[in-house]
Symmetry: D2
Subunit: 379 residues, 4 copies
């Protein structure tokens, strides 16, 4: 069985997702369904070339053309945040199943509209919180689920990057609020808020945040003599309480020298702890406090065992480590299966909404310098 | 030259400081001054034995007796927090130079009274923020001082322990507010607030805190059938801004499985970062972003070079790692020298006050659920 | 421009290489040449399915059929070791450019015949010493080349796996001498001998080896009640001297619990050291003894910088780590370029021969329990 | 009860042992016996000062004077290797219990004479293989004893230092064969051969070694214009087989940049592995292959639990790491107890002999370029 896929976006995420569609059937031959890479949509002269490069049959600059094709069942949205809602709603109305990059939209209201649209249309919907499917992260979640950590006391998450450290680095679209909604916050905190939800199965109840823009003006990309205003946060930290009683901290920044793509989460419970850092994505650290005291310690688990770790059987033998793109391949696999078998997708647009509600509350908190409750919209 | 020392306190800290007084002259023969271990004061039947064990000539249960001795020039206060102010003020009035355990007192007002007392008496005063004198920490401070990190963007500090994780662990004095003032906060945040000040040379301007007591009642030590109320925080986290513009986070907890005595601090600047964790106290991690890009990375510096790292020349050859007590030995060395040569002490009671002002502000913030400015008392 | 590729072998290596051919043009669009996946050859009923899965147009069970096709310019040999020589020589005679898995053959004589065949045919030849092209390994080599390590004193290499630890694990072809020539030695030492040559640019002059077969009989795969003799080494260690004066040690084993695919090499020189372990393949450790003593330490370089580390520009942004297969993709890229532009290949069959001469000497040494000189055949 | 101690040697080891005698009674108050630091013997003008510094009552330049004192029951020999045998035999004849630095002597014959002397005299005898008493090493041994590793396949030990890397570093006595017997070999391999015996409980049966002197002439310390010949090995590596069937490798060098005092050992068994590195001496790495496969990994055990790790109860709370000297304090404690209670010492002179037999065999092997059996003398 073959499912036609169309992708919107031909830059970084467009390429990462393309690679997943290109490889998924090779790695998962037993899935019984393979994608047909029908069309890539993007804006720019290079779209046809990029499309050909990654194996897409056709290309276009108009996403409506893509949505209008009968041979496309799945639409993969890899555009800047401000386009997600409109495109996803249009795709739903066109009856397409949807994979959408994170954060799901510019704010929770947009997310809610998207949830309503996909529900009305009865299409599958999945958000690309890619780190969920790291085998090491899947193991962390499984350990929590099994009660191996007991009562959760602490969640400690940070997503540290460093690419803005230099004040002379020119302006990019990621620093414009009208395109992204926020800065490090929506880009990075979105991931770790989702990881906290994914691994603990709990929800964030209230937050207190602090935002900072370290460098307020940057040289314009087109004309370095001119500067443009940065209108988003460079860093956003927040404290939080989870419904289950745990306390938590989250931090996103693009100013942490030494951290390139360091998405980290640690969870401390009564009986044990887990810790993950993306830069060593094949490894999960697990502290099991139920072991004999003489032997307790942090165990660095290389999550590359075919018979024990999620998705690994499809890839390489033990210790033959996987990389960034495998998360996208596994994600594509699961969506294909959900569509083919009418199964459940995860994380879905409701997860995207829940994450956004936390992000929105944190932004309000940072502005008001006060604790803010996270209100969950009914869906 | 010999200086008489008297110590008040004969438990954990009393022993750690005793070991320092016992060894300091052996490790630092060129200092020209050695301590005479005159008297230990404590409460309990075991005081004479403990005193003899650690080489103290005399013992007493009455600290006034100790303060009254002419052969004692230095008084070392290792008692619970609620006794610091009274004892230090009495010691100052008795003309003794003082080393006092941290946190300096129960609150900033007490600290201020202590500062005034030592100034009036003209005695030397030093606070036992022991981690300052780790060679690795000294190196971190030196790198910041040299401008190797450039503008500081982030301070990220946590002090994680796990000894309260078990809800059945019986009550101890450290969980009673009247004795300690606070829980993990005063015990642990005191250290990392001081480390942040020490390394950055900057002051904390405002804070927003969250406190949590995970286990509100614990079995009484004397009668496990009965429970007693825990009246302090089990964990206290806070966000902060430094005067120089950096954003910061601090976290103290006794509920983090896998962390035994994990006092950590990381500082990210425009040109580099440093990171330290006490559990690997011989190592400093340094990221130098001015190196060629191909070679940039976190350098794990083993701070055991005699000709390059503070205090090390007195101890062992390179790679022959030192332990917890060396911090106290180095601290004793510096106080002896300051007294003998009428030199400066550091950190002194003003540092203790500054730290306490931050701790106090954080406690108020946690109670009021609001940002609180740290006000510096004039001294 | 398109180059037709045929692959022989459809198991582990066949798949790893297939993935490279499938993705290489997408990751390296500017190369100007792309492979056309023409035919997969293998033995077994599943060959057509595996071929289709990985995008090969045709499949066969007869490699002569593959060699006979005019639309194939490159032949990729991924079969067991005992077939390499025959297939490569046939391929050369058929005028095909060749990529061959390691070790190049069963012994140096076979290798020599292969070298002669490809030279006579004037075809490109490359050996799949895949670890060479890890960006971190490439950096290690570059540092040595720049003289950053100064005179080399030590090479310390080991390749540790653990899949045979259980004595009940059934027999596999890798444990039969007639198929493989040797056990852990040819499979694993081949890689680290090559890495030592690659990074140091030096040759191994003499060796002294010890071989061990820990489990001499294993259950037959087809009939566990019956056992079969293991006829290869389970572990083989050897000491060595390099021509340039360095001393070296090599160890290969399949019995090291805790090591899954742990290919390691460390090189110590007068001015510095480098260390690499495949299980953290994105990282190179570099100790630069020319730095100020206070700052010397092991720097963990994440070799993911587009503008500074080999091949990375084609993959993901900094810190978005790559995995096992990228080595094969980079290897395929370089071969395509060499064929298209009539450029040099590396490592070529002469490198395969040089490695095999060392392996052969070590086998003789282990048998004779004596030091053995490595003689280099003239080519 | 008090036991008089006399120490011979006032340099590095003399100081390290002095610190142990100074502190041992304070850390181990329940031992019921404390040392009286009676006399230090050394050669040089500074002996009286060093003696006073470390708390020794008297000093002398003549070790016979020390041996002649009635108030000394224990003699601690910290002199260069070529003096051990004579002094130990004299001490035994004087009826003194003996602690002797490693390696026990210049060769196995000397060791044998020492064993005979202490046996005839009926005195206690202990060798200062200090690393044995690291709590982490004690745990490794305990795990092997409990059968947690199952059959041992591999021992992999190295002791890497870097202090000779610079060819211009002047001559020292450690590089003269007549004083030391060998270079890195006796100094460093002695420790790791002992660790291998200590942890595995097995004996080394045969060895094949390679020695290298990288820098054959060094500036004389007194007159840098003149050079002196280095007459010992700079590095010595050897392969070995243990009686129980394991294969092993050992490496000692003073030319490994990046390693300051890196004494390492790793042991791989059927059911698990352990690994230790002195530079992180508070940690043991344990891989337990009997855990569920999903959770298997290297566990970094911080061996600082009072109720679970050897000696720790006497020192600090969990995570308050210990340093180099605690090994000597624990060693002094055990010897005091053995003398006071007429108990067993370990490691004793027979252990010193067994280690020396291995070292001697390796030296012969390096010279003969051949495998050499380790013959155990009857004692």
């Amino acid at each position: 069985m073959e499912l036609g896929v169309g992708i919107i976006g031909h830059k970084f995420m467009g390429k990462a997702h393309s690679q997943a569609w290109l490889d998924v059937a090779a790695f998962f031959p037993d899935l019984g369904v393979r994608p047909a890479l029908k069309m890539m949509c993007g804006v720019g002269d290079d779209v046809p070339d990029v499309a050909a490069q990654w194996g897409w049959e056709h290309s276009t600059q108009d996403y409506h053309e893509l949505l209008g094709r009968d041979d496309i069942q799945i639409v993969d949205i890899c555009t800047p945040n401000n386009l997600h809602a409109r495109m996803a709603i249009d795709a739903a109305r066109a009856g397409k199943h949807i994979l959408c990059e994170k954060p799901l939209a510019m704010n929770a209201d947009e997310c809610l509209a998207m949830v309503q649209a996909v529900r009305e249309a009865g299409v599958k919907h999945q958000v690309s919180f890619c780190y969920r499917r790291c085998p090491a992260v899947m193991l962390a979640r499984e350990l929590v689920r099994q009660g191996r950590l007991g009562r959760i006391y602490h969640v400690r998450a940070s997503y540290l990057q460093s690419w803005l450290t230099d004040p002379q680095r020119p302006m990019v679209w990621r620093l414009k609020k009208e395109v992204t909604g926020s800065g490090a916050h929506g880009d990075l905190n979105a991931h770790i808020v989702d990881l906290a939800r994914h691994i603990t199965g709990d929800e964030i109840a209230e937050v207190c945040a602090m935002a900072e823009t370290f460098v307020g003006e940057r040289p314009a990309a087109a004309d370095p003599a001119r500067t443009e205003r940065v209108t988003v946060d460079d860093a956003l930290l927040f404290l939080a309480r989870l419904r289950g009683g745990a306390v938590a901290s989250f931090e996103a920044t693009r100013y942490a020298q030494g951290h390139k793509n360091d998405s980290r989460i640690e969870i401390n419970g009564e009986k044990g702890s887990v810790a993950f850092s993306f830069e060593r994505m094949n490894e999960l650290s697990f502290f099991d406090a139920t072991r004999p005291r003489a032997e307790q310690g942090w165990t660095t688990i290389m999550a590359t065992e075919r018979d024990a770790h999620a998705y690994v059987a499809a890839y390489w033998p033990p210790g033959h480590v996987i990389g960034y793109e495998h998360q996208f391949i596994s994600q594509a696999r699961d969506l294909l299966e959900a569509v083919a078998c009418d199964g459940a997708t995860w994380p879905d647009f409701v997860d995207g909404l829940r994450c956004q509600e936390v992000l929105d509350a944190a932004l309000v908190s940072a502005e008001q310098r006060a604790w803010v409750q996270v209100e969950q919209r009914q869906v």
